[in-house]
Symmetry: C2
């Protein structure tokens, strides 16, 4: 959409840095602090969802946020680990036969790098429009199903038991088998954490404002619920050494920044992960731009879809190089960044710096974080993603959409995330193509005493046995002309008196080459049957285009400016 076609568009940072000032610095710093408070525990938690060591969540955030700051066009999108993409990462890697942690990390690198390269390539090829073909109801159903799987996968940490699985069908029996092993202390900490986080969200802020704190401070503190709970729990764990009662702790986390990571990859692994990388890229991109567009519109700012692909692509390549996993623009975190007043992508860079400080100086504290607290944070975070309203809405509005929604939901829950989203996207595109292959076309007749023409099936109209009037309500192109051809031949099959077919083209905005050829073929075939083909009310631009071809020379009939004139002429 950006009309600036210069080189600058590829490096958006060059367009906002010159205007940077103290006011923006202040706004970005505040927003960065709030997001960092939210992101530190979340990033580690989502790393665990992805099956990765906790610290890689921090690395993915540091590298991803920094690169997006250079190449992204949204001032407020926060590109770091997100729930659904982390789940998809775990699902993709679980298909491989990875025995050691080193193997797992290397495969995660391949997946992340591949996904980054895909996003970047789509952006450079300006193929961002392809995201339009993922229907919103399908994405919504997929996110709901993924959130359920994530929440369910965290129940084992809440209970402090062993259980495993990638789908509801695998997780549920596994959990039921293990429920008798529940560690009561773990469960108590977990439930307390959930209540604590929820209270911070609702109760704390009003309390702080009532205490006379400024709205900004109150907001920051209320957003810090997950961090407060984590710090408190770590303190309790440290003071009482609760690991001796069977409560699992996060344990040793290497301090400092990671070395740049490039393990190399095998062709077989590339091939095995390609499909997963495609799906992860699509979902990550669609999730990112959905929230980025809303936020930009609210501030009358602009984002560029193709450049967003470049931003996400480079962020993922950077995450791979930092030993991380696939990342994207998270919905709730970006909204927090937006509401906290982030003015430029620099806010993301500042968040990265704060997280880097945590990774360098605070890892000894991270050791004492009980695993169950991160599970609690995840469960609260994904709960807000669960939304079944799409089922009822699509059922009432369109059964075809309902089929796609229900299929996505069921397959994701029962068979797995990859098959679920792939089936949903395929079915919605198939349904779309099917509808599209039948253009809206009506046989029309004249309303007596007027010059108006209406559908003969819906109105009382007059027709003449020697002519057939057809109104085409859509542009003609290769996907739908065959239907028109079939329809015409079907209609003429039993009309022996017919001498003229008149196509009324008021709503035809385009005729592509296939459609032109089809019209020529229809014209020729009708000619052999002694029937003439006429057009009426063809739009100017189409007339110009058809005139460059020999079409009007071969057309057996005429081209009328008004349909009524055609009907009168040919009676």
């Amino acid at each position: 959409m950006n009309s600036n076609k210069s080189f600058l568009r590829f490096i958006p940072i060059l367009s906002w840095v010159p205007q940077y000032n103290g006011e923006k610095l202040a706004a970005d710093s505040v927003a960065a602090t709030i997001v960092a408070i939210m992101l530190v525990p979340q990033a580690m938690a989502y790393a665990l969802v992805a099956g990765m060591p906790a610290e890689t969540g921090l690395y993915a955030s540091i590298f991803g946020l920094s690169l997006y700051c250079l190449f992204g066009t949204s001032n407020t999108l926060s590109v770091a680990p997100v729930a659904v993409v982390s789940l998809m990462t775990a699902a993709a890697l679980s298909k491989l036969d990875l025995l050691t942690t080193a193997d797992y990390l290397a495969a995660a690198f391949t997946l992340t790098f591949l996904s980054g390269v895909l996003l970047l390539s789509l952006g450079l090829l300006r193929l961002g429009f392809m995201a339009n073909f993922i229907s919103h109801p399908v994405i919504s159903a997929f996110i709901t199903a993924s959130a359920i799987i994530i929440a369910l996968s965290q129940v084992r940490h809440l209970l402090g038991v062993e259980a495993d699985g990638q789908t509801v069908l695998e997780l549920l029996p596994s959990l039921i088998m293990a429920v008798t092993d529940t560690n009561v202390l773990t469960l108590t900490i977990g439930i307390t954490s959930i209540i604590g986080i929820l209270w911070c969200r609702t109760g704390l802020k009003s309390l702080l404002v009532a205490w006379g704190l400024s709205d900004l401070i109150a907001t920051i503190l209320s957003r810090s619920g997950p961090l407060l709970v984590t710090v408190l729990a770590a303190l309790v764990a440290f003071v009482f050494s609760i690991d001796q009662y069977g409560v699992e702790l996060l344990g040793n986390i290497p301090a400092g920044m990671p070395d740049l990571y490039f393990p190399g990859f095998t062709v077989e692994q590339l091939r095995a992960l390609l499909g997963s990388a495609v799906l992860i890229s699509i979902i990550g991109f669609v999730e990112s731009i959905s929230v980025a567009q809303i936020m930009a519109a609210k501030r009358r700012e602009r984002i560029d879809l193709d450049q967003e692909l470049v931003g996400l692509g480079t962020a993922n390549i950077a995450s791979a190089a930092g030993g991380g996993f696939p990342i994207s623009g998270g919905f709730s975190r970006s909204i927090v960044n937006f509401e906290a007043g982030a003015a430029t992508p620099a806010a993301g860079l500042f968040t990265a710096i704060i997280i880097a400080l945590v990774a360098v100086f605070f890892t000894p504290i991270l050791f004492w974080i009980p695993r169950v607290v991160l599970a609690a944070i995840i469960m609260v975070a994904v709960y807000s993603l669960i939304d079944f309203s799409m089922l009822g809405k699509s059922w009432r509005y369109s059964k075809a959409d309902f089929v796609a929604v229900a299929l996505t939901l069921l397959l994701t829950l029962s068979v797995g995330v990859e098959l679920g989203i792939a089936a949903g996207v395929l079915v919605s595109i198939l349904i779309h193509l099917y509808k599209e292959s039948k253009p809206h076309v009506a046989v029309i007749g004249r309303v007596s005493g007027t010059e108006h023409f209406r559908n003969i099936n819906r109105h009382q109209v007059e027709t003449f046995p020697n002519q057939l009037s057809i109104r085409i309500d859509e542009s003609l192109y290769f996907a739908n002309t065959r239907y028109l051809e079939e329809l015409i031949f079907e209609l003429i099959a039993d009309k022996q008196e017919l001498r003229h077919v008149i196509l009324m083209c008021t709503a035809v905005n385009k005729i592509d080459l296939s459609a032109l050829e089809t019209l020529e073929k229809i014209n020729e075939t009708l000619d052999e049957l002694g029937i003439k083909l006429h057009l009426s009310e063809v739009k100017g631009p189409i007339m110009d285009r058809l005139a460059t071809t020999g079409f009007f020379k071969t057309l057996t009939g005429n081209n009328y400016l008004s349909h009524n004139q055609a009907v009168e002429d040919l009676r």
Copy 2:
């Protein structure tokens, strides 16, 4: 298109057999004879193109024609070996590492069976509409390129030399290397055959009519050019034992009908051939229905696309079971069948019977057919498929179509048939999706002193700073609403006085669930900016549908019957 939804539609033979009579029998017998005369040498020749033993061309014809007679809906389509599909078969099988003839035959079985099952499944799932998404210019380019490759691959037989390759890039150097080994007798027979066949096509018929033969007999004899040449050449070969001069003969052909064949298949081979089977099915189907539709229209008959898939599918499964290879409805042969007066699919069955008689009784004659004669028949047959006009036509009419045409042509010639057609289809669908993702939308203003609204970029019109009028010229669905959303937010970004956005919906025939959700999102976002969203001139069916949702309750603005009224109201 057939409104008869009963069980009968799945077995079309039941609808025409009860009306069968002597007149139709006579017509079908004549047509069957003419087609059989044409098909016997052609079927063997195309078998050799597919890399199969010559007799399998006869078997494929016998089995394919018989089954299509039961399940096909075209009275005149002749389902048997065709040039392009045979070439694709050779290309598909050459990718596998097949050492023995038995392995090759088993792989051909898998490919043919798979292709039949695919076609049958698509038919039973009523997915025939999917053929609409293969654009005609792409198919045309592909057929031209395939014909060139086939013709070039026959040059070695014409010269009587060894040369190999699947593409022009492979064939040309190979032929140039071998040209010095040319067998002059072989070349002489080949060129004589080509001249003979061409003369029969043009000169013989008029000569026969001049001699006083009836038009029908003259037609039959002129169509028999390839057969006459073949028989004459076999006679010469037999009398002079020309094989001792290095002319290659067809050699031993087993007499009789084949046993039913079911070699079983491996999962790896199924997987390796799946992509090829998909491409072969698509091309075979599109080629068949193109000719079937034209012929049916000329006689005011009807064909059913989905049932055609069933007919072709069962014909291919039968061909597999008879030890054959993939088949489809050939263009020129079907036209001959049509022109010779075939009245029902029984003509195909009669052709099958004649060919079966040849397979049982005439194989000793086949031994003496020089290989070069079949090459001559193939070269004459495919020459008529070569048509470069699509290049110029698409260049003049639409550069996007030109890109798809040129790409298909170049890739098919240089890299191979499978990549060529796959790239062509993909690129044309991508181009289509790209165009489709940008609906035709115009910002409009009022023509002074009238109630007409026109595009502000094309006409002198009046607008009001507090309102923005947008005319949507297409249906809204998931593929194009994101663009509308972007456009609206782009347009409002720098209009601080704006209070109303009015969408004129005269040309909107459908609003799917995704589009509804997008409209709700646009409405909400505009609301936060203090801008109201209005609709005007919404069509009745869409009003009804929207009324079932809560949309009009959340809409901040109004729904106007006339756009002018909206503009006046909101000034």
